[in-house]
Amino acid sequence: MSRHWLGDGARGVWGDGSPRGNTPLLRTAKLAKTYRTDGVAVEAVRGVDIELGIGEFVAVMGPSGSGKSTLLHVLAGLEPSTTGEIWLRGQRVDGLSTAGWAILRRRHIGFVFQFFNLLSNMTVADNVELPALLAGASARQARKRREDLLAELGLADKATAAPARLSGGEQQRVALARALANEPSLLLADEPTGNLDSSNTRDVLRLLRRAHDSGQAILMVTHDARVASLADRVINLFDGMVADDARIVPIPRGVNGVRDVLELRG
């Protein structure tokens, strides 16, 4: 069985979007993750080769159960890979220890979860300051960075609140602030708008866009096509494999397709 759904011609027309000539920020080779429960093996990720350039914004789509979340967790070192390679900033990292991954995350990887995962017994401010403190920043630097981020996310007045007192949209913005606290070169986001209404979705997207504009690479799992359409590239995962990997080409105005979707009857 083919390990890759892409036919030979598939990349040619659209381009694979990979940075040419430079070392990619993130690269995987034949990455696989198999879960074993009660002697039954479930192959969640089966031989994934992807690349993410510095500052690139890539969306990962695909049916549920296609391995999207698993892939993201493995790339963040939150779960160990089974076989294959992960390279970050030119270094092979898949063999790192738990502690090694923790240090790598503090310095280079921000992670946003679908369900926020804020520490409930700490204030909003402490949640955002913690990663900087863990990474060795002084209390003063951490506070400064936290103040800047919360102000930018419109949450300055929530600093002393407990996360549970915040709306879902606010909690996700705090989670984003926490993920960005150490200015990671890679932001991994797992359905960051999955539980948000459209106005909160817009806010989170605006922030992701700003992070992208400031040079952070983003790899984001999403079902929301509006969110995915903002990416430079969309990877479609199916059955634990890359089914498609293509740059988004906006359809020009006036082309029939756009007319068709906006035409009114009557």
């Binding site: 759904w5 598939a10 293509a246």
Partner: protein, 168 residues
């Protein structure tokens, strides 16, 4: 095109070009502008059907313009149209027909077809999000028109994903 023109004429008499402009202004820049020729042809047909009547109005510096107004029969046709429930947009099934039939005929493989279609939908979605960003937030009609298109497109993508789950 018939009913929107009748509806605009129910407000006040107008000539063809004014009607085209009124449609554009009402629905905003995302709305595909009606072709002026199509507006005139439709007005002519409405007149033949007795739903509008027209008269030439002299202009000093330009050729005469033809001003249209609604007839009582036109007003009745319009209220019948307004009262009727409207059919929702139908499933755009051309792609589905391709998806089912082309592989049977050995013309294409399903995964390749779906990938191509998804790229097209995402390209459209990008264009719509750009339009959304360019639209004045105060222009509610234009915003809702784009949002409707976005939601339909999202449904098309969800359906594509279902096809992927079941057919590959």
């Amino acid at each position: 095109m018939r009913q929107p023109l009748l509806a605009l004429l129910a407000k006040e008499p107008a000539h063809g070009y004014e009607l085209k402009l009124a449609l554009e202004q009402t629905f905003g820049q995302a709305y595909p502008s009606p072709n002026i020729g199509q507006v005139y042809v439709t007005l002519k047909r409405l007149e033949q059907d007795g739903l509008v009547r027209s008269q030439d109005v002299e202009q000093t510096t330009r050729p005469n313009k033809r001003v249209y107004e609604l007839t009582p029969a036109g007003r009745e046709a319009l209220s019948t149209w307004v009262d009727e429930p409207s059919d929702g947009p139908r499933i755009r099934d051309e792609f589905f027909v391709k998806l089912i039939l082309a592989p049977m005929a050995g013309l294409a493989d399903r995964m390749a077809l779906m990938n191509k279609q998804r790229r097209h939908y995402l390209g459209l979605m990008r264009r719509l999000t750009e339009l959304q960003a360019d639209t004045d937030p105060a222009d509610t009609t234009a915003r809702l028109l784009i949002e409707g298109a976005v939601l339909h497109l999202q449904a098309d993508l969800d359906w594509l994903e279902r096809c992927q789950e079941e057919l590959v």
